[in-house]
């Protein structure tokens, strides 16, 4: 599984989305299941999946799937 597929799976699992739902265009609070409470679960799921600890500023800035992929790059995870 590629890093991109792992990130998609983390999003689907944390936000309780169907396995076939596209997530690449998801944006924070644009989707009914991605609210502030779910955001903390999502961050934890990403941390667990990639074994990284994400700083508070990055948690705040993680406003979309694309931004999550970019932020992971700071922690040495190349999401492609």
């Amino acid at each position: 599984m590629t890093e991109l597929q792992r990130l998609r799976e983390a999003f689907r699992t944390a936000l309780d989305l169907p396995a076939d739902e596209p997530v690449d265009d998801l944006r924070y609070q644009d989707h009914e299941k991605w609210d502030s409470l779910a955001h903390m679960s999502l961050v934890a799921a990403i941390e667990d999946e990639f074994s990284v600890m994400i700083d508070t500023d990055d948690v705040i800035n993680m406003s979309s799937f694309a931004e999550a992929a970019r932020i992971l790059g700071k922690y040495g995870v190349d999401v492609k």
């Binding site: 903390m40 961050v43 934890a44 941390e47 667990d48 600890m53 700083d55 508070t56």
Partner: protein, 243 residues
């Protein structure tokens, strides 16, 4: 075994808590301001109790310190079951005679430092088993003490943080409480003169200063399963000072 992070663990109340948790078999992440002192404390605890202890040093007023502690906890244990937000500083000073730097330092360490520590640990606690937090407030934060207005204000902030965090984190299964020590025989009391100490004792129903171990015992209780229905409380450990 449970995993606990204790800040301000080199000495005083924090060290006493670390000793008790290690005695119960907790694995520990310890923080101290001074690198040599916290390394020594960690070594002594490991040697005495045979538990895994990792440690880091830094100024808790700098958010980078609690970020590093969270990362150390994550890298070593992946979670926290217990958090003791204890690092603090004390300074007495009359209003109109307290330097700006002292005002800033008291709030930076006691209030902002506590908020940084809790904020950076919260996702680790969410992964924990029966997670619980205890912060070290102070009787002065609720009652006020002449000559310690700024210190009292900084500790009142800890009480507000405790109650708010208890409401916010309760639905996620995380309990948050605080202890409010009265006058305890720690290094922090060194800033009071002998007359000040005598006055404090005179106002304490039990007629003596408390010990760090007596506060630590209450912290360990609040972290334990015995306190599983207790959250959002500021528990006085003051020998009757506030009666």
């Amino acid at each position: 075994m449970r995993v606990a992070l204790v800040t301000g663990a080199s000495r005083g109340i924090g060290r006493a808590v670390a000793d008790r948790l290690a005695e119960q078999g907790h694995r520990l992440v310890l923080h101290g301001h001074d690198p040599e002192r916290i390394a020594a404390a960690a070594g002594e605890i490991t040697a005495k109790f045979g538990v895994t202890v990792v440690h880091a040093a830094g100024d808790i007023a700098d958010p980078a310190t609690s970020r590093a502690l969270a990362r150390l906890s994550f890298d070593t244990f992946k979670r926290l079951d217990a958090l003791v937000v204890n690092a603090g500083t004390h300074a007495a000073g009359m209003l109109g005679m307290t330097p700006d730097a002292t005002v800033e330092r008291l709030f930076a360490v006691n209030a902002a430092g506590a908020a940084y520590t809790l904020q950076n640990a919260v996702r680790l606690l969410a992964r924990g088993q029966s997670p619980a937090v205890v912060l070290t407030a102070s009787v002065t934060g609720d009652q006020g003490v002449a000559g310690q207005a700024v210190y009292a204000a900084s500790k009142a902030a800890v009480a507000g943080l405790t109650r708010s965090a208890a409401k916010e984190l309760g639905p996620r299964g995380i309990r948050v409480n605080a202890v409010a020590p009265g006058f305890i025989t720690t290094d922090m009391l060194d800033s009071l003169d002998e007359a000040g100490r005598a006055e404090r004792i005179a106002h304490t129903a039990l007629g003596r200063l408390g010990t760090a171990g007596e506060v630590a015992d209450v912290i360990v209780f609040l972290l334990s399963e015995q306190a599983r229905f207790v959250t959002g409380q500021i528990l006085g450990v003051d020998g009757g000072l506030t009666l």
